[in-house]
């Protein structure tokens, strides 16, 4: 039936995913007492500010303490600390959605703000930059190579690429990154081993941008290397599967040139399953990005994850878990749209 309805169903499913992850996160936080600790920390932080303000007007220390105690009680009620964690569930979910997670314990944003929101959002573009660049390169290279292999199935090239795919599938992103650092950054000194800019960063917009690209090169290569093999293999298999369909034989019999058969009868038909697999691969590249950023000290959300784990900063970890799921869900929905547009057969009738 309608495109819109189909997409709406997918959208609702993906929103369900987001909500499920949130509830999972919040329940885990509540049941283990983490949420109590986080809220207590927020209350204390608030009180510190209040104390400074009150200290100027209230001179009597006892009265000051009493007022503060009263304020603490109010705040605890406000945050729901006086009730068990599960009664706060909706409230907490809302706070996670708005990334209102108070302040980080040790981590600071580049500008020095301790607010979780600003720390996380500041890192977002760097992760998105890495993910999109590597995904696009992987997708394009995989399509070109995979299609090429499908036309030469069983050849030596095909077989050796199959083996390379197996290796690529087995490569963990972080170890590949380490290998590349050892080789290209330390042995050969071609590329920087990590970070965002050289120090000191070059002046001038263009130079600065080129420096950024130079630093992004190794992480991007790593991400492409670890996902390319499986992807090439998928494209090859999908194309081969479609090439076996009878309508391809019919198209050839119709006297269509090989190029047109490949474009309209094989690739066009194989496109929806290929997109599906792109979707499935997305989760993997998300994980790869977290680890790759860590290895290359790339100041995105993945590296932040690592730093937050090292400093046991739960507010930041919650925010990151949520953000990663959000990125995933948004990207999936985008691919879902492509899928529905590509395949007239799927519809809810």
């Amino acid at each position: 039936m309608s495109l819109a309805l189909t997409l709406a169903v997918r959208g609702v499913t993906l929103l369900g995913v987001l909500l499920l992850v949130l509830v999972l996160v919040v329940v885990a936080l509540g049941a283990t007492g983490f949420s109590d600790r986080m809220l207590t920390a927020i209350v204390s932080e608030d009180l510190r500010g209040i104390r400074e303000g009150l200290a100027r007007t209230i001179r009597d220390p006892d009265q000051l303490e009493a007022t503060l105690r009263a304020r603490r009680g109010e705040l605890e009620r406000f945050y729901g600390l006086d009730r068990p964690w599960y009664t706060r569930l909706p409230n907490t979910v809302l706070r996670v959605i708005t990334l209102d997670l108070g302040e980080a314990r040790n981590l600071r944003s580049f500008k020095g703000s301790p607010k979780v929101t600003s720390i996380v959002l500041e890192r977002l573009p760097y992760t998105v930059l890495l993910l999109t660049t590597s995904s696009i390169i992987t997708a394009v290279v995989g399509l070109v190579v995979g299609v090429k292999l499908a036309t030469r199935v069983g050849s030596r090239l095909d077989r050796s690429v199959s083996y390379l795919s197996a290796i690529s599938y087995a490569l963990p992103a972080w170890w590949t990154g380490i290998l590349l650092i050892l080789l290209l950054a330390f042995e050969l000194r071609w590329l920087p081993s990590g970070g965002l800019y050289s120090s000191p960063p070059p002046q001038g917009g263009v130079l600065r941008f080129l420096d950024l690209l130079r630093h992004a090169l190794l992480p991007v290569i790593t991400l492409v290397l670890v996902s390319l093999g499986a992807w090439i293999y998928t494209v090859r298999t999908m194309v081969l599967n479609t090439a076996q369909e009878f309508f391809v034989t019919v198209a050839r019999a119709k006297g269509l040139p090989e190029g047109r058969v490949m474009r309209r009868y094989i690739l066009r038909v194989a496109a929806p399953p290929i997109v599906t697999n792109l979707v499935l691969g997305l989760a993997g590249s998300l994980g790869g990005a977290i680890l790759t950023e860590t290895v290359f000290n790339w100041p995105g959300m993945g590296r932040l994850y690592y730093d937050a784990i090292l400093t046991a900063d739960e507010g930041v970890i919650v925010a990151l878990t949520f953000m990663f799921t959000l990125i995933y869900v948004v990207a999936r929905f985008a691919l879902e749209v492509i899928y529905v547009v590509l395949d007239p057969r799927i519809r809810y009738t």
Partner: protein, 338 residues
């Protein structure tokens, strides 16, 4: 003769999903009734979408009817639970169309034929029974055949394995759903003769479901023609085929090709169009949009099955009453259509 199986006014509806929340009811069977005597063969003939396979499933109680009644040997089995049906399943068996997908490829022929005995907990002389069944269907030598896997057999041989599996329990009723449509034309008769031979020997009653009215002519005593979930004509096979009273039966008979070199010199007068979807059946007589004889009444009133000639019943408004001399003319009396 006594009645073995009876389906009375059976309705089967399926919920087909439509849209996100809505669903539409598809009526696969729309008030069909059949009766099968012990030891006889009744052929059910119809095209795809006529509901003949659903009727077969109802008769084997693989499908619980939405309305109506199914009785076997005097017992109403319409709503029996799986546990209770077990005793029915021992006495009634099925043979299915596809000899490639109806056998478990992981089992040997011996295991396949033995399975009904295992399921019904019959321990005595299992191997003898299996070998006997294999011999009955002329898969010899049985010990050699029992060790083979289905993929080593030809289509015809596989179908005989399926028959042996159905007959190893010596059932009283066998529902054969298109048993030869996927077998090579030159071997079809062989399988049908085999079934007839076994019927004569064991007194089994067959419900022979087919789209091929010509084999029904040779291998059944009685016939029922189905169209869009309804039985439109039924009676003795010779009588119905020799003197079709329903325009659809007539069209069906005309459409059957026979090897005659003169065919190429003439057009066959066939009905227009394709059978409509059971999700959107036409009003009144379901056949009226394609019927060359249709008149005002056809789209408004449902015709009921009525006996027009002795033992020959038809659901068509052309036959208001019994008429022993009834005969459908070659050319329609009225215009092409409404």
């Amino acid at each position: 003769m006594s009645l073995l199986l009876a389906a009375e006014d059976v309705v089967v509806e399926f919920q087909a999903r439509k849209g996100l929340l809505g669903s539409v009811r598809v009526r696969a069977l729309d008030g069909a009734s059949i009766q099968l005597e012990k030891g006889e063969t009744l052929a059910i003939v119809g095209e795809s979408g006529s509901g003949k396979t659903t009727l077969a499933r109802v008769c084997l109680r693989l499908q619980e009817p939405t309305r109506g009644k199914v009785s076997f040997d005097g017992q109403d089995i319409t709503h029996w639970t799986a546990r209770r049906l077990q005793q029915f399943r021992r006495r009634a068996q099925g043979i299915f169309q596809d000899p490639f997908s109806s056998l478990d490829t992981n089992m040997t022929v011996g295991q396949i034929v033995e399975e009904p005995l295992v399921i019904h907990g019959l321990r005595d002389g299992r191997q003898d029974k299996v070998y006997k069944a294999l011999e009955d269907v002329k898969l010899t030598p049985p010990d050699e055949m029992a060790a083979k896997f289905p993929h080593m057999l030809s289509g015809g041989q596989r179908q005989r394995v399926a028959i042996a599996r159905a007959l190893v329990l010596q059932p009283e009723l066998v529902v054969a759903d298109e048993p030869v449509s996927m077998v090579d034309a030159s071997s079809r008769a062989e399988i049908l003769y085999l079934l007839r031979e076994l019927q004569e020997r064991h007194g089994t009653a067959f419900l022979y479901i087919t789209h091929d009215i010509a084999t029904a002519y040779h291998f059944s005593q009685r016939i029922a023609v189905m169209y869009l979930g309804r039985i439109v004509e039924t009676g003795g096979t010779r009588e119905v085929i020799g003197n079709p009273l329903h325009p659809y039966t007539q069209a069906l008979l005309k459409a059957v090709p026979e090897p005659d070199p003169d065919n190429r010199l003439r057009r066959r007068a066939v009905v227009d169009g394709e059978p409509p979807s059971p999700a959107h059946p036409p009003s009144g007589c379901h056949f009226h949009p394609r019927c060359p004889y249709a008149f005002e009444r056809c789209p408004v009133a449902d015709p009921q099955l009525q006996e027009v000639r002795p033992g020959h019943r038809v659901a068509c408004h052309l036959w208001p009453g019994a008429d022993a001399a009834a005969r459908l003319p070659e050319k329609p009396q009225t215009g092409q259509a409404l």
